[in-house]
């Protein structure tokens, strides 16, 4: 075996090991959580309210709360994010201001989530007088998700080859028709993936909802968007740190439900992608 071959072997081994080290902790976490949660998971746990100082019963209000927050966040951030990304990529002139906006968006995604939480409290809860409510929480989570959605959409749009636009324009289509028929359908899978990633993050964040929506203990379902709700990540934080003599299996069961929720969102993403691939003209 010559030297180049040996070097290639070494390189592949290092790369493979790196991948293994990345994947192992994920499996370990999931395995650990499942192992500890499995005894506590039941329909009762999922569909019942927390009882006896949250040491018994279920987490139904927190599940509903998190679902509400995710849906509300989609409602605000998805249209806004996709539309502004389309504008930035397809319409905006390439000048100093546009560059500034693009750099700002990239930097926004690096801001710690607690900062978004404080900002959301200052703007939505106090200044706009929306109170500690689902609305405030969704708006805060939306602002946090926007940079990721915009960046993902931007990259997905830019990945569509110029030749696709060229054909459409050469046939006399307007720019908007070209975007609508020849760019978006091909960018959609990438947009979806980015969106689901950012929503998964939004579903799991504690800091942004801490001051804007999350309730410590509220064993009923929300009646309007101005109600507070319990949410899974915050509930998990509370039962893990604030409640003495908390059965550990309930914490793990809560974590398990949160992971399943995120997994389900990714599953929806995969299914949608397959559907769009099957039927690309829409």
């Amino acid at each position: 075996m010559n030297l180049a071959r040996i070097r290639e072997r070494i390189a592949f081994t290092i790369l493979g090991l790196s991948t293994l080290f990345v994947i192992l902790p994920i499996f370990a976490i999931v395995f650990y959580i499942v192992k500890n949660a499995i005894g506590a998971i039941s329909w009762n746990f999922i569909l019942d309210i927390p009882r006896h100082g949250m040491r018994e019963g279920g987490i139904y209000p927190a599940i509903v709360g998190t679902i509400c927050l995710v849906l509300g966040t989609i409602l605000f951030s998805l249209p806004l994010g996709i539309m502004s990304a389309i504008y930035l990529v397809e319409y905006a002139n390439d000048n100093f201001f546009t560059k500034l906006v693009k750099v700002s968006i990239v930097n926004l995604s690096g801001i710690p989530s607690i900062v978004y939480g404080l900002f959301g409290m200052a703007l939505f809860v106090i200044f706009l007088k929306l109170g500690t409510s689902i609305l405030s929480g969704c708006l805060t989570l939306s602002i946090m998700s926007l940079p990721l959605i915009i960046t993902a959409t931007k990259e997905a749009l830019e990945a569509v080859p110029f030749s696709f636009r060229e054909i459409s324009l050469s046939l006399g289509a307007t720019k908007w028709q070209t975007i609508r028929y020849c760019v978006l359908p091909y960018a959609l899978p990438g947009i979806l993936t980015g969106t689901v990633l950012s929503l998964s993050r939004a579903a799991g964040e504690t800091a942004p909802i801490l001051f804007t929506v999350a309730a410590f203990y509220l064993p009923r379902l929300p009646r309007s968007i101005f109600d507070q709700v319990m949410a899974l990540p915050y509930h998990l934080y509370v039962i893990s740190t604030q409640i003495p003599n908390m059965p550990l299996r309930l914490s793990f069961a809560t974590a398990f439900v949160l992971i399943v929720l995120v997994f389900l969102m990714n599953l929806v993403n995969v299914i949608l992608r397959i559907q769009f691939r099957k039927k690309k003209q829409w």
Partner: protein, 254 residues
Amino acid sequence: MEFFPKIETRNLNLYYGSFSALKNINIKIPPKEITAIIGPSGCGKSTLLRCFNRMNDLIENVKITGEVIIDNKNIFDKNVNLLNLRRNVGMVFQRPNVFDASVYYNLTFGIKIHRLMRNKNKINDAIQMSLEGVGLWNDLKDKLKKNARYLPLEQQQRLCIARVIILNPKIILLDEPCSTLDPIATLKIEELLKKLKEDYTIIIVTHNMQQAARISGWSGFMLLGELIEFNRTKIIFTNPTDSRTEDYITGRFG
């Protein structure tokens, strides 16, 4: 010249930033003929072609001076409807760039965006006419729902031509349409172009001098952004006036 030009350029200059890509081009394109633009890579022949349907507008930092007259109108005038211009001046690209969708979708795309017709029967008639026009009707009449990507390359390129002629253009621009095709498919496309010139004014950019000689009535030779010579193809290939044209067509460079 013994014809009334379908396209005429007057002192056409084009700059990419500070680079002068077209230098003072004056050309008169005859109607219902095939005109070939030949020349070495980078001489500006594709750039010239893209002036005729203003596809150069898409590139940033392009500056154009001079006029391109089509049907007595300068297409760079402010009041020109760009969308109609591109409908009247169709373009076929180097790669057979069909949409990743059905044959039907490919053909009806132009109809849809220009809102030409709504009636299903009329649309089907138009599809049949355009496919017959490019000699694909018998092959594809039962495969309209099939994804165009799975057709042989030659049929894809024919479909691209059909996608253009379904819009009833006056002029068809072809940018090296055979460069990705094998010799047999190339000959078939050439036969098609010869047939189409009865109804359309055709301009073809080609690397392939034999191709220009085989199909075109008129030829223009370009070099470094200049139109060196424009004349009947017969004359260009047998008795060119400029020595640079002669050098190129006899294969001394390029």
